[in-house]
């Protein structure tokens, strides 16, 4: 089970647009809410000194010193990347951690999980969190209980984080299809992998922030020298244009 499939029919995943993400955390709680009702995500000490709960998606905030111009701020959602070469899968001793052959989604079969945490160690991206109440590993399921769920309207069969994202910074689709929306976005906008050197071959891609800075409009030419001609001259010139 923990052998990775040679290839998957589909490669479902997310594109996260860092040029558009404003860091509002909507995806974080939509994910929490949906999965709390599904696989269950607990919170410890929820109203106390050290609250700590299981979240499958967290949004970081970074500042970036850039060569020319003021520092930039980039908000950065982080969740499972559903890697093709998922190290979290092969380390699992029980087969609980697996990558689906049909769509490439990496899942945890909680019925088989012993909560050893090794998969979380193996993941470079921090995509897995052990639930302290259930003692089993939790991770993004790509809302496998939404995307195929026929009890939901068809339009809602997408991950909860994508459905809720107010800026539309998250896109869901099949990367195996070069004509899919996500594949095209990646091609057009230079979508990239996180930590490519780790050899994980993530499915999810991130779109880089676009170049920032002042616009390229050519400077405005004064109508005439107001100091020399006075307001009256300006008015004549201006109103003469009507």
């Amino acid at each position: 089970m923990t052998a990775l499939p040679q290839a998957t029919e589909k490669r479902l995943g997310l594109v996260i647009d860092l040029d558009t993400c404003v860091g509002c955390q909507a995806c974080v709680t939509a994910c929490k809410g949906w999965n709390d009702g599904g696989i269950g995500l607990s919170d410890q000490d929820p109203y106390g000194a050290s609250p700590s709960g299981t979240f499958l998606n967290r949004v970081h905030s970074y500042q970036v010193a850039v060569p020319d111009g003021p520092a930039q701020v980039v908000t950065f959602p982080r969740s499972c990347l559903h890697c093709d070469n998922a190290p979290c899968v092969t380390v699992c001793p029980t087969g609980a951690s697996y990558k689906r052959a049909e769509d490439g989604i990496v899942l945890v079969n909680e019925d088989a999980c012993i909560g050893c945490g090794l998969c979380a160690w193996a993941c470079p991206y921090g995509a897995r969190e052990m639930d302290a109440a259930q003692g089993v590993m939790k991770k993004c399921t790509l809302c496998v209980d939404r995307i195929y769920n026929e009890t939901l309207p068809e339009v809602d069969r997408e991950p909860a984080c994508v459905r809720t994202c107010p800026t539309n910074a998250r896109h869901f689709g099949d990367f195996a299809d070069p004509e899919s929306h996500v594949s095209k976005l990646v091609a057009e906008r230079g979508g990239y992998d996180l930590m490519p050197g780790m050899g994980t071959q993530p499915t999810n891609k991130y779109l880089p922030p676009r170049a920032k800075g002042p616009g390229a409009a050519s400077p405005l030419a004064p109508l005439l020298d107001v100091k020399a001609t006075g307001i009256a001259g300006w008015l004549d010139r201006m109103l003469g244009k009507i």
């Binding site: 404003v22 974080v28 939509a30 302290a132 800026t167 002042p214 616009g215």
Partner: protein
């Protein structure tokens, strides 16, 4: 492969109920999924006009709000000293009769001794109407400390405002410029809009001292010095004028630029020259003679000079071509280089004039002139608290509207568009009402738009009639009142003392007050007679907020899923530029506690007090509850709180009350929309088709076309008074300030807080509300508080490096009003002379059902303790507010920042600290699940210290 079977067909719920969110003021539509009668999941309603299916972090955490242990559970009566938090539970009957026994004598003798102010209230058309019928002049909601500069600046200039009352034409705009746009208001619509621009690759620029959120994704960021936005905007106007890049046709047709100003010295100077019918007029370019401003075919001459009187346009050009506004003259002050200002001006001009667009939609204007199409200038703007919360915010808002006007983009395709019931001219708004007669209602609504000193709320002796001094010479256009001054004024007995303070959803003893520490004292100080200086306080809230401890009688409210509400066109609707819209809330859950919807309680109190409109002829209560009022109340014949499904259920806007209305809203997803016809969708202020549609819908009774006010005549009337003209005269100490602040053209003056710079407080201090927390509410939400349970004071590199700050350090931050010691963090993308923090993360120990050692109560902090509610004493007591509107000038704040090495602050708690509040009776519980016993005991066994960053 033998893969496990995965449950992909999970049934989320057994029932979905659609209602309106209340996790902030956005009012998004939500689908509440219920399983066995309990909330299972909350998501956005795809059909809803505001959020179109999306939902923010708060909205999606609503389940934790309706299960929060902080929910109050029964009416409470204070039994210990005020502020101690000692309460006993009482019955509703006892609570209501107590309230009536306090209020009734006041109404019969001195109604002004009841002050009723509401905070995050979304039912102001009801609460205002109630106060009006009680007869007290002392009513307002929280706009005075929130947004009134934006609202008033907009309405006095363009008949509409920023905030949620309009929005850029997201589909067509090519350049979107934000000035101090707050991320907690209208947030999903703005986020959706930014997403649309980003998808198209349209350009977004943010002017903001802090580069987070929207500013972070903006294509360009201008890290302006706080309080100088107006100067930057006027400099942009200077550049545009200098280059002749303004829309003359737009100015001539749609604004008061061609009106003539009286040049004769005396009481008329600077007012419009009027004809025999008292109408201002223009000079027709075709004839060179006066012509009516609204005459068909008239071509107003912008440059006219007639009998020595010159046009507004000429005055405006003269003003802004002054070298004072040149980029080189303002650059240092704004913290923006002259080159960047010129660049921005060039960008605006290029998009507005070289990339103009046009919609092939024929339309007719109010003059009867026919237009073949709708030209548009696809530059749009948005602005919020960043420019609003300064003492020059009103004029800055006006300046930004002037910029949009000069570019000719307002209400055109690609520009900023207003949402019904706006646009609406000043003339269509009421003036403020305040005259009290014991036992009688006021003759009209409290809040309105002042046209001249005659409309001020002054007693015969010239003193303010309102406890907050609203509509007085101190702040003549205080269209939302000054909630932040109610407690200080009542405590000081200035202008008079009150008896009962009645508050709803306003955390005045903590994050909603300036100078919170002092306000706590004001609430508990007693006079010589041993009586509290504010003798009685009634408070309604759903949660155990900090304010609960300072009230004498608590009327517990429901949570947002347990109540009726209407989001009404009479108030703050959910309209879009292309549609009027309103909405409801309804109890998708039944309360399991002794709590009642505050609005129902208010109607009950009204009936018990016998207030007009709230009792039937037989003396019985006229409305069963709020829902009954929503359906059956009529503000004007045929016009009620909700526009939809009136009469037989088919009428929209006008129609008799329909007993099925609430059910029809529920069936319709809890909202209703009336779409603006295509030919009425732009140029709404002047579009005959729009005006007719608005009358038909009941927004107003007759068409209300008007001109944008580049020159504000009401403001000039106040300037004239300050100059000594007219029967009503300001006190001498306010003359100079009125002359400056009431300039009829948008001007910039240094924010009053800048004076503190000279006294050793050079640094600007700001707060922002995070997109994932709403005011003080977020911390009781177990999911949200994990995201932001701590706040830091962010220091720019200049301060961080100059003082050698290290991670983990603290800072002593002091101002004229006080000192705080707080944790710090370094932020490079920040104006070099500004520090800031997230607002309202800090909590009082013991409040909100959090443990006393919760980080919110130990390291969390407020800047409020640094902010004085008064300006420095100069012989008179003046509020720290905008001199025009009374808007609380939160962002004027100046401070000094000094490093405190971590080792020198061993306690590791933010200062000042306050005694722990005792826990009032509340619902408790909450959705908590502890660690598995096994894992827990194993951790304990091994005594693992948790290494936390």
């Amino acid at each position: 492969m033998n893969q496990p079977r995965v449950e992909t067909q999970r049934e989320v719920s057994d029932e979905v109920r659609q209602t309106t969110c209340y996790m902030c003021a956005c009012r998004c539509g939500i689908n509440v999924h219920l399983k066995s009668g309990k909330v299972a999941y909350i998501e956005g309603n795809r059909d809803h006009p505001i959020n179109k299916g999306v939902l923010c972090a708060k909205g999606a955490s609503g389940i934790m709000q309706v299960t929060a242990p902080s929910r109050l559970k029964a009416p409470l009566r204070r039994v210990g000293p005020r502020g101690s938090g000692a309460f006993e539970e009482i019955s509703w009957e006892e609570a209501l009769s107590t309230a009536v026994s306090w209020m009734k004598p006041l109404r019969e003798t001195a109604p002004e001794r009841l002050a009723f102010f509401t905070g995050r209230d979304q039912s102001q058309s009801l609460t205002g109407w109630w106060a009006q019928n009680f007869g007290t002049p002392n009513y307002a909601a929280h706009g005075g400390f929130c947004s009134v500069n934006m609202a008033a600046g907009g309405i006095y200039t363009i008949g509409g405002a920023f905030w949620e009352f309009g929005q850029p034409d997201w589909e067509r705009t090519k350049l979107f410029v934000m000035f101090g746009v707050a991320e907690d208001h209208d947030s999903n619509p703005i986020k959706i809009g930014i997403g649309k621009l980003k998808a198209r690759g349209a350009r977004v620029i943010s002017v903001n001292p802090v580069r987070t959120g929207y500013s972070a994704v903006a294509d360009d960021w201008i890290g302006i010095t706080p309080g100088t936005d107006g100067l930057l905007i006027l400099s942009l106007i200077h550049c545009l004028l200098e280059a002749g890049k303004i829309d003359l046709d737009y100015l001539a047709q749609w604004t008061n630029a061609p009106l003539l100003l009286n040049e004769a010295e005396g009481p008329e100077k600077g007012l419009f020259v009027r004809n025999a019918e008292s109408q201002p007029f223009v000079i027709d370019r075709r004839t060179g003679h006066p012509a009516p401003w609204d005459g068909k075919g008239v071509e107003p001459d912008l440059g006219a000079e007639w009998q020595g009187h010159r046009t507004v346009f000429r005055h405006m050009v003269e003003e802004y071509l002054k070298p004072d506004y040149a980029p080189e003259a303002v650059a240092v002050r704004c913290g923006v280089t002259a080159e960047r200002i010129r660049q921005l001006a060039a960008e605006l001009a290029q998009v507005a004039f070289d990339q103009a667009i046009s919609l092939p939609r024929p339309w007719v204007d109010f003059r009867g002139n026919e237009h073949a199409d709708m030209p548009g200038r696809p530059v749009s703007f948005h602005a919020m608290r960043g420019i609003s919360a300064h003492s020059n915010g009103f004029q800055t808002a006006r300046a930004l509207h002037l910029l949009q006007i000069l570019l000719g983009s307002l209400e055109t395709p690609g520009g900023y568009r207003l949402k019904p019931p706006y646009p609406k001219p000043i003339e269509a708004h009421p003036t403020p009402h305040f005259v009290t007669t014991p036992g009688k209602p006021l003759t009209g609504p409290h809040l309105g738009y002042v046209r001249s000193p005659d409309d001020l709320c002054l007693l015969p002796d010239g003193s303010p009639a309102r406890i907050d001094k609203g509509f007085s010479w101190e702040n003549p256009f205080s269209a939302h009142g000054l909630m932040h001054m109610v407690i200080p004024n009542a405590h000081a007995g200035d202008p008079y003392k009150i008896d009962t303070l009645f508050l709803y959803m306003a955390n005045m003893s903590w994050n909603s007050s300036m100078n919170s520490a002092r306000v706590m004292e004001m609430l508990t100080e007693r006079g010589a007679d041993g009586e509290y200086l504010i003798p009685r306080i009634i408070y309604s809230d759903a949660y155990a907020s900090e304010m609960v401890a300072y009230a004498d009688l608590i009327l517990p409210d429901t949570t947002y899923l347990e109540r009726h509400d209407c989001i009404s066109l009479l108030d703050r609707p959910i309209s879009e530029p292309d549609a009027a819209g309103d909405a409801i809330r309804w109890p998708v859950l039944e309360p399991d506690r002794e709590v009642r919807c505050f609005q129902s309680v208010l109607l009950d109190l009204g009936a018990r007090l016998g207030l007009p409109g709230m009792v039937a002829e037989d003396g019985s209560p006229k409305y069963r509850d709020y829902a009954d009022y929503i359906v059956n109340h009529q503000r004007r014949p045929g016009v009620g709180p909700l526009m939809g499904f009136r009469g037989n259920g088919e009428a929209t806007g006008r129609g008799a009350p329909n007993p099925d209305q609430m059910q029809r809203y529920i069936e319709n997803g809890a909202f209703c929309q009336a779409h603006v016809p295509e030919d009425a969708a732009f140029y709404k202020s002047w579009n005959a088709a729009y005006q007719d549609w608005a009358v038909k819908l009941g927004l107003y009774e007759t068409p209300q076309p008007y001109l944008f006010n580049i020159w504000s005549e009401p403001m000039r009337r106040f300037q004239l008074a300050a100059e000594g003209f007219g029967p009503r005269q300001p006190p001498d100490h306010l003359r100079d300030r009125l002359r400056q602040a009431m300039h009829p053209l948008p001007v910039w003056y240094a924010p009053y807080g800048d004076e503190d710079a000279a006294f050793g407080y050079p640094v600007h201090a700001l707060t922002q509300r995070p997109m994932d927390m709403y005011h003080s509410w977020g911390s009781q939400n177990a999911w949200l508080r994990q995201i932001k349970g701590r706040n830091y004071l962010y220091l720019p590199s200049s301060i961080w490096e100059a003082q050698g700050f290290q991670p983990g350090d603290w800072a002593r931050v002091s101002s004229r009003a006080g000192t705080i010691v707080v944790p710090v963090a370094h932020m490079a993308a920040l104006n070099e002379n500004t520090v800031w923090t997230w607002n309202a993360i800090g909590k009082r120990k013991g409040a909100w059902a959090l443990d006393a050692d919760a980080p919110e109560a130990t390291t969390g902090f407020l800047l409020n303790h640094l902010i004085s509610e008064l300006l420095p004493e100069k012989g008179v007591r003046l509020s720290n507010s905008d001199p025009v509107t009374g808007q609380a000038a939160w962002f004027d704040q100046r401070v000094r920042v000094e490093r405190v090495v971590a080792a020198d602050h061993p306690r590791g708690t933010a200062e000042p600290g306050f005694p722990e509040l005792s826990d009032p009776p509340r619902a408790g519980g909450g959705r908590q699940n502890s660690s598995k016993n096994f894992a827990k005991s194993f951790r304990k066994l091994l005594g693992m210290a948790e290494a936390e960053r």
